[in-house]
Symmetry: C2
DNA sequence: AAAGCAGACTAATAACTATTAGTTTTATTA
DNA sequence: TAATAAAACTAATAGTTATTAGTCTGCTTT
């Protein structure tokens, strides 16, 4: 892992925890194990680090949701759909890197248009687009009742997003959030799936 | 309007726009029309202003959602439910004070446990609790099909919360958000209401 | 072995921050 | 009118911040 990458990594951690304005260059450098001025060998300045991080967030989004191949095969039963969904949520909620990225974006979303746009992509666009395609496919296969796939994608993902956000700020509620999510997803399937 | 209130008002505006760490005492004082040191006649310091604001947020929550009388009479038809809901959303989304409060909480939610807790109350607890009671009542009146009122409250409010959050960071999407919300609420009623 | 270079360091600076102390003005009350 | 209290001001301080300039070290390449 190069020094540059280490800087980005520690900066993301600190920005997620204390925000951009609440983090000093010196703190970042200390975590990396160098002195603050050495950091200027790798980045033009503090804001340059921030921009590199938002580039990263955008790249990560494209990587995950840009192509059509990021979700595996279509679930072939109600239970498989539920299990796949819960597994995805559980991973997303717990993965430290994704967790940091989420907090970072939530904190800095008002910084400028680019931050706002990428936050919306992460929070709404990506997952919703993914579920739109999954539900669309499962509708064709007769597993979902005929309906607007995009709307259903919203119905299933929105409550999840809110509970994940809650768990982000109140980690002691993680278990409770996960239970609420399972209850919600099961209810969603009962209402909108066939049989 | 007393100086103290003016300080709180301008501080909230600035904190919502630039965050606590991104706002200086001098900026607040300037907006109020006094010099920075004069501000210490009214507050012990910067953090004291922050605490007064979070007290305000909590009080506002109690005032709106603490009692059982904050929603008027129960809607007596599908269309009335929809209109009431949309009107509430439209007001909440546009009212400058509520808007600032929302941004403020979103920005500072990670500051400490109290901020986290109050943010959750505002974002989940309040509106959801309110709709739980409304739906519960309407279920008794036979307007909603038999189901878990709390779960349905989540289903209807979560997507709204996400779209309002989107409009907060991308005001040019306000119209689009409002349309999505209407589509969602109507769909919700079609699925869960009787007749 | 010599040269070059990336990347670390030390030292210094200029700007900004929150806060305090002490003073003056203004308005209210006795 | 005199006294009192609130709230504004000026001036100063102590601390922090990002950033620059210049130097040294250790590895790679010629």
């Amino acid at each position: 892992m190069t020094t540059r990458d280490k800087i980005l990594d520690e900066a993301l951690t600190l920005f997620a925890e204390n925000g951009y304005d609440g983090t000093s260059v010196e703190e970042i450098a200390e975590k990396v194990g160098i002195k603050a001025p050495s950091l200027y060998n790798h980045f033009k300045g503090k804001e340059d680090i921030l921009n590199a991080l938002i580039d990263m967030a955008e790249a990560r989004y494209e990587e995950f949701f840009g192509s059509d191949k990021h979700f595996g095969k279509l679930p072939e039963s109600k239970e498989e759909f539920i299990q796949t969904a819960l597994q995805k949520v559980s991973f997303t909620m717990r993965d430290p890197m994704i967790c940091k990225m989420r907090k970072f974006l939530v904190r800095e979303q008002f910084r400028n248009d680019r931050f706002a746009e990428i936050t919306t992509k992460h929070q709404l666009g990506g997952i919703q687009g993914m579920y739109t395609k999954i539900i669309e496919g499962m509708m064709r296969n007769g597993l979902f009742k005929e309906d607007d796939p995009e709307l259903l994608a919203t119905e299933v993902t929105a409550p999840v997003a809110l509970w994940v956000a809650k768990a982000d700020r109140q980690p002691q509620c993680e278990r409770e959030s996960m239970e609420s999510i399972e209850k919600h997803v099961r209810h969603f399937c009962d209402v909108y799936m066939t049989e």
